[in-house]
């Protein structure tokens, strides 16, 4: 390439770059303006008002002062409820992990037996995630009665919706190469999944499962609000009886459980991933 044509080529690419950047800037500004307008409008509609928050500070301070100090004598009564909270989370998450494996395989484009199955599975998983644990808990309380078992089922279903969706997306993102290699050996569909796909998604699946256990612990602490067992029941009970010092103790215990589970989860994750 002669020096002249080289310069011309560089100049024209530079000009094209500046033109593209101009267009992109204009597009960014338009979208940013639209986003700000929408956010401003919705903020006004739902009464976002920083002033109200400032004015409310004394009331919050009053609430907290009534909770302080926490009634540590109440601690001895919370042992069973604490254990129950953890048990609900463990069982709920475990059932979700087991259920989410088949649903993930049915709900991933590259492993589903049929597009209809794929869409039906995704729809079902969307429904599971759309329904909050508390709502599920209300349904199961009326089905299996008050108590922790309703909580376990509530967490299991909602968590299945989340885990299966994440895992399905992970399956869809796997490297095609090993799958092709497994198919080339004459392996059947299930064998290809077992040897070409499962090893690729295992680390992510474990990671999601651990995260989900963390979420389940937090969900389990409030399921008691609707009578599905755990610490939430003590929380709502002491509040309704205006025993705020005891409420403070409940919150403290919940805080400690979340801290401990976070620590344990981090340790497990570091071990196996």
């Amino acid at each position: 390439m002669s020096a002249l044509t080289f310069e011309a080529a560089v100049a024209s690419t530079l000009a094209a770059e500046s033109q593209r950047r101009g267009k992109r800037l204009a597009r960014t500004l338009i979208w940013a303006a639209a986003a700000i307008a929408v956010l401003w409008f919705s903020g006004a509609q739902i009464g976002m008002n920083p002033l109200a928050l400032v004015k409310g500070v004394p009331f919050m301070a009053d609430f907290f002062s009534r909770m302080f100090p926490p009634d540590l004598a109440h601690l001895s009564l919370l042992g069973d409820a604490t254990l129950e909270t953890v048990q609900i989370a463990v069982w709920g998450t475990l059932i979700a992990i087991l259920l989410s494996i088949p649903f993930a395989l049915l709900g991933a484009k590259n492993t589903t037996p049929h597009p209809i199955v794929f869409h039906a599975t995704r729809m079902f998983l969307n429904a599971l995630r759309a329904i909050n644990e508390l709502v599920f808990a209300l349904i199961f309380v009326s089905a299996v009665g008050l108590g922790p078992f309703a909580g376990v089922l509530a967490i299991a279903l909602h968590a299945t919706g989340m885990l299966a969706k994440f895992c399905a997306e992970e399956i869809e993102g796997v490297d095609r190469g090993p799958i092709e290699a497994m198919q080339a050996t004459g392996a059947g569909r299930l064998q290809v999944i077992l040897f070409g796909i499962v090893p690729q998604v295992i680390p992510a699946f474990i990671s999601y499962s651990i995260y989900r256990f963390d979420v389940s612990i937090r969900a389990a602490t409030i399921l008691g609000l609707v009578g599905a067992g755990g610490l939430g029941f003590s929380l709502i009970k002491t509040m309704k009886l205006f025993k705020y010092h005891e409420t403070a103790t409940c919150i403290l215990v919940i805080f400690v459980i979340v801290l401990v589970s976070d620590w344990v989860c981090a340790r497990i994750r570091a071990r196996i991933i």
Partner: protein
């Protein structure tokens, strides 16, 4: 290509370089064993050897992606191995080209080449993903050198392997380096494309006066593209000389040396 002028002081001097991976008190793997090489300014030196000979480790000891266990590397007369100062300033003088291209696939071709300018720019500017106009001119010129300017706005993952490697060469050139370290740049390309890519690399380096250290495992390309070859085997230099002197006997020594075999000229 001109024979490197041996009167000039070397661009790179490697003295007694060794690298042991793992196990400080013995039991580690000796990847490099007492390597000493001089590379003249503007030279296109090929380092030839089988996989596992230590070629990649050698290149990475030069730009300090790997810290050597013993020995020194001098760049233009300055010792850079023990240098604890500005690693960025050292690294930006060495452009690197990799076997697997290592482009950021989701970024455009132009942005990939612009990353060659990162060593010169502050973090604050980079936070906005923006580059000065002068850098854009440099990047586009480098792309034009490897004939890839017409694809400047495509995503890197839409390119073929040969095209990706040409973009990677442009990225190294955009650093305006004194030296390019090419680690098996054509190992995953077919012969025709490989020759084309090596041609672009040699031509650009020649025009810009850049010294090139190029790892290869194919004898044909070494004969074709370099005047001087360093042969490596099991972490040691077993040959150093013109590519025309690569006899079958020497190739056997480079590629098939047995673990216990003594090298008479290794002293």
């Amino acid at each position: 290509m001109n024979t490197p002028d041996t009167q000039r002081k070397p661009m790179i001097s490697i003295r007694g370089l060794s690298k042991t991976y793992g196990g400080k008190g013995g039991g580690g793997v000796l990847a490099l064993n007492n390597i000493s090489i001089d590379v003249a300014a503007g030279e296109f030196l090929v380092i030839l050897g089988p996989s596992g000979a230590g070629k990649s480790t050698l290149l990475r000891c030069i730009n300090r992606l790997v810290d050597p266990s013993e020995g020194q590397v001098f760049h233009d007369g300055t010792e850079i191995t023990a240098h604890r100062g500005d690693l960025r300033a050292i690294r930006r003088q060495f452009g690197m080209v990799f076997q697997q291209f290592n482009l950021v696939k989701r970024l455009s071709v132009l942005t990939n080449v612009l990353t060659g300018r990162l060593g010169y720019r502050s973090v604050w500017r980079s936070l906005a993903y923006s580059f000065p106009e002068a850098d854009k001119r440099i990047a586009i010129e480098c792309l034009a050198r490897v004939n890839m300017d017409h694809k400047a706005f495509q995503r890197a993952d839409t390119l073929s392997g040969g095209e990706q490697q040409r973009v990677a060469i442009a990225r190294a050139l955009a650093q305006q380096p004194m030296v390019i370290l090419a680690d098996e740049p054509v190992a995953s390309l077919d012969p025709k494309i490989a020759r084309q890519v090596l041609g672009y690399l040699r031509e650009a380096a020649q025009e810009l006066g850049i010294t090139v250290l190029c790892n290869l495992h194919q004898v044909d390309y070494a004969r074709e593209f370099s005047e001087r070859v360093v042969g490596m085997s099991r972490g040691a230099v077993v040959f150093e000389g013109p590519s025309s002197a690569l006899t079958d006997d020497i190739l056997h020594r480079i590629y098939y040396r047995e673990p216990g075999e003594v090298e008479k000229d290794e002293a």
